[in-house]
Amino acid sequence: MNGTRQYTDFFNDVRDTLYARSCDVMNAQREMALARFESLGFPTRKTERYKYTDAGLDFEPDYGIALSTLTDELPKYCHRICNAPIDVTPYYNSIADRNDAVVCLNTMLSVDTLLVYIPRNTRPEHPIQISNILKGDNDTMVNRRLLVVMEEGAEADIIITDHAVNDSRFLTNQVIEAFASENSHLNIYEIEETHLLCTRYSNVYIHESRNASVRHTSLSLFNGHTRNTCNVQLASEGSEVNLNGCVIADKMQRVDNNTRIEHLVPHCTSNELYKYVLDDSATGAFAGIVYVSEGAQKTSSAMTNANLCATDSARMYTQPMLEIYADDVKCSHGSTVGQLGEDALFYMMQRGIGIDEARLLLKSAFITEVVETIPLEPLRDRLHFQVDKRLRGELSKCEGCKLCK
């Protein structure tokens, strides 16, 4: 396939530079990743998990590939993987899916990895914010890698934001691996506010040990094409995971969220809530699977996906799935696609609220359910504000931008 060819050729061209700039932990995986990538090729829509996103098409354009490294001066708890305070070999690329060509591509081409390491029983004073700013006059592809290691009893909030400052096309391929040890608490928030020409592939892998709890919240406020996956292994008893997400999409935007939660042992809990508001010709997709393996008794799992389609050209694909091999479980999922309630709209109009404002209020209330799940108060307030602005079409990002006018 032509698409994979340009990446393997590029890899062969810059192999030496890559190896020189990076370190052993990462270099050790490259050739394997290359071999897997070549044999797999980009997934087509015939691959079940890529049913709603054509990866081949997204990776086809000729992007310049950035090979920059992180600076050495990083805030507390953050490290370049080359200067890691711990041995990261058991972690790096250990839970990422080796059968996903997009992940392999990242393993092949990532130059540096940001390691967030929270030692035993530590709680950073402030949340850790990682801002990814896409900048460049030419079309650029970025391979990003993040590794989070939480030791026993550690707690952390990590906020990851995506921005683009130029009108160029950007392609981001991100892989996050997070390990939550016993009794640790990890909150990851991902907020995407880029522009219509940005394509984002994000693959998140989370591994939880005994009594760990992880919350992953993904907010796609503005984007071009986005494909997020979140894969969680509940590998020890008493662990808990909450996956929440909201999507606001209009124009030709496309957002595909794909989640997989594996209950491998008894007494684990998972909750999922994803909400979409689709306008204009936006396409939304949600596919979530909860897998309960044999013997994983007393599993409790709930999945909800609710969607608003505001126009006839907006499309929503939803696929909430359960795969269960244990009997003493409580698993449920619910999914709806609908539109704003006529009664509610009428009620507000009766009271002198214009139709546009009424619609806005309802949409905002719909999304609020997801934002409200965020425990971090300042972030929650900020997001309420952002969501409201986004729905009004006045996102701060939009000022001075000519892209979609």
Binding site: E48, E294, G295, Q297, N307, C309, A310, T311, D312, S313, A314, R315, M316, Y317, T318, Q319, P320, M321, L322, E323, I324, Y325, A326, D327, D328, V329, K330, C331, S332, H333, G334, S335, T336, V337, G338, Q339
Partner: protein
């Protein structure tokens, strides 16, 4: 508790009730599949050229295809050359005069509770009895004929009403639809043909009883139901097979055409041989069923009780093209031992204000795997489409699996699509409540399961509902304890 377990095991070891074989001379063609076999089947049935051409086209298409593997099933490999594609038990030497049925066959159907003598029949049900590849007898034909209703085997319909058959055959499920549809289109043998003329309400339940008897054969029946404007028909289908160590293939097609204001109810109680306790043998039930709601205000409802078959892979579907058309799907799928089921429905909304309801209840026990897979698709033309789906799974035993794979594709802003599903085991509170009142575990479970499946069983015609309820009991006995 130990005592009740003993009791349970006794019942569980009970054999499949319909597992006997009938000893009749059956004309079986040689095993294998080729263009010649397709021609031979067509010749044996004395078919016109257009039908042979249809079969050949399907065969040529099938040869190019590969068997799909996306089902959540662990399928034994099927050797398509090791199956005989035509077996005719009516060609025995015993029946001297034509038109007379071999007494052995009569006995078989009597034993199955399907009397072929009209005077003995249950009031209000006309039966088309199909054994292996041939329809043995269709009852009440003449009475129905008076009202203009055509109810006969499809082979006869090809001879007597070629225009009707030609118009509708393959119009709902084209031979290119899928691998098994292509196979069936190439080699299909008997099945029923029903035509309800304009404005006629069929006064009795029509029913087809399918029986696989001969060894080493597969059954490829084809059913076609056409209900013209303002018509109504309720159609039942039942099936059984003898116990054999080998897997037998059953790949059928059911096509239903529903026109303006017409209503069709299609009910199935599927009780093919499920294989033994160790998962050996059993019928592979790979069926394509689809209804096309062509007219405005048309209605179609599928009701199925699936208790048999080693593997069930089928999705009775509805294409709602007519405005205001309504479709329903009610299903209870029970799997025990090593049975596997991947079943559900597809609702394709095309017309305006179309409505569909899906109620699916899965019950898995033993080491079985039970999956619901469904698609609700709303085209952009389907203004005001409405769908409600609910699929619940009940797990009895820690070795079984229950899975749900619903797909929803919505392309219209005025559509409302809802899906909900739960998976759980029988609630301890409910069990405890029953036991407190002196109902033993076995009866309590049966009570709860029947209550759970009630939504679906209530939709079945009376006689079937009774049978289905009994089947539920038998299929699950031994699963609790």
């Amino acid at each position: 508790m130990a005592e009740s377990n003993d009791f349970l095991h006794n019942v569980a070891d009970k054999d499949y009730e319909y597992g006997f074989t009938t000893d009749v001379d059956t004309e079986i063609i040689d095993k294998g599949l080729s263009e010649d076999v397709v021609r031979l089947i067509s010749k044996k049935k004395g078919e016109p050229d257009w039908l042979l051409e249809f079969r050949l086209q399907a065969y040529r298409y099938w040869v190019e295809q590969k068997q799909p593997e996306w089902g959540h099933l662990n399928m034994p490999e099927i050797d398509y050359q090791d199956i005989s594609y035509y077996a005719d038990p009516t060609k025995s030497g015993n029946s001297g005069k034509s038109g007379e049925i071999d007494p052995e066959l009569m006995k078989t159907f009597d034993k199955l509770g399907i009397p072929l003598e009209e005077r003995m029949a249950l009031a209000g049900t006309a039966v088309d009895a199909v054994m292996d590849s041939v329809s043995v007898k269709t009852t009440f034909r003449d009475k129905l004929r008076e009202m203009g209703i055509i109810f006969m085997s499809i082979s006869e319909a090809v001879r007597e009403h070629p225009d009707l058959v030609r118009e509708y055959l393959g119009s709902v499920v084209p031979y290119r639809d899928n691998y098994f549809a292509a196979l069936n289109s190439a080699v299909f043998s008997d099945g029923s043909f029903v035509y309800i003329p304009k404005g006629v309400r069929c006064p009795m339940e029509l029913s087809t009883y399918f029986r696989i008897n001969a060894r080493g054969t597969g059954q490829f029946e084809r059913t076609l139901i056409v209900c013209d404007d303002d018509g109504y028909v309720s159609y039942l289908e039942g099936c059984t097979a003898p116990m054999r160590d080998e897997n037998q293939l059953h790949a059928a097609i059911v096509e239903i055409v529903v026109k303006e204001n017409a209503e069709v109810k299609y009910s199935t109680v599927q009780n093919w041989y499920p294989g033994d306790k160790n998962g050996k043998g059993g019928v592979l039930n790979l069926v394509t069923k689809r209804g096309h709601l062509r007219g405005a205000n048309s209605r179609l409802s599928w009701t199925q009780v699936e208790t048999g078959s080693a593997i069930t892979w089928k999705y009775p579907s509805c294409v709602l093209s007519g405005d205001n058309s309504q479709a329903e799907f009610y299903s209870v799928a029970v799997t025990n031992n090593f049975q596997q089921a991947d079943t559900g429905t597809k609702m394709i909304h095309i017309g305006r204000n179309t409505k569909s309801t899906i109620i699916s209840k899965g019950i898995s026990a033993g080491r079985s795997q039970n999956s619901y897979r469904g698609l609700v698709k709303v085209a952009s033309s389907a203004q005001g489409a409405r769908n409600y789906s609910s699929c619940d799974s009940l797990l009895l035993g820690s070795k079984c699996g229950a899975h749900t794979f619903p797909y929803m594709d919505v392309k219209n802003s005025s559509a409302i699509v809802e899906h909900e599903a739960t998976t759980s085991k029988i609630s301890e509170e409910q069990l405890f409540y029953c036991q407190q009142r002196g109902i033993n575990t076995e009866d309590a479970v049966s009570l709860i399961v029947n209550g759970y499946a009630k939504d679906v069983i209530n939709k079945l015609p009376m006689e079937f509902a009774v049978e289905a309820q009994k089947l539920l009991g038998v299929s699950l006995e031994g699963a609790v304890g």
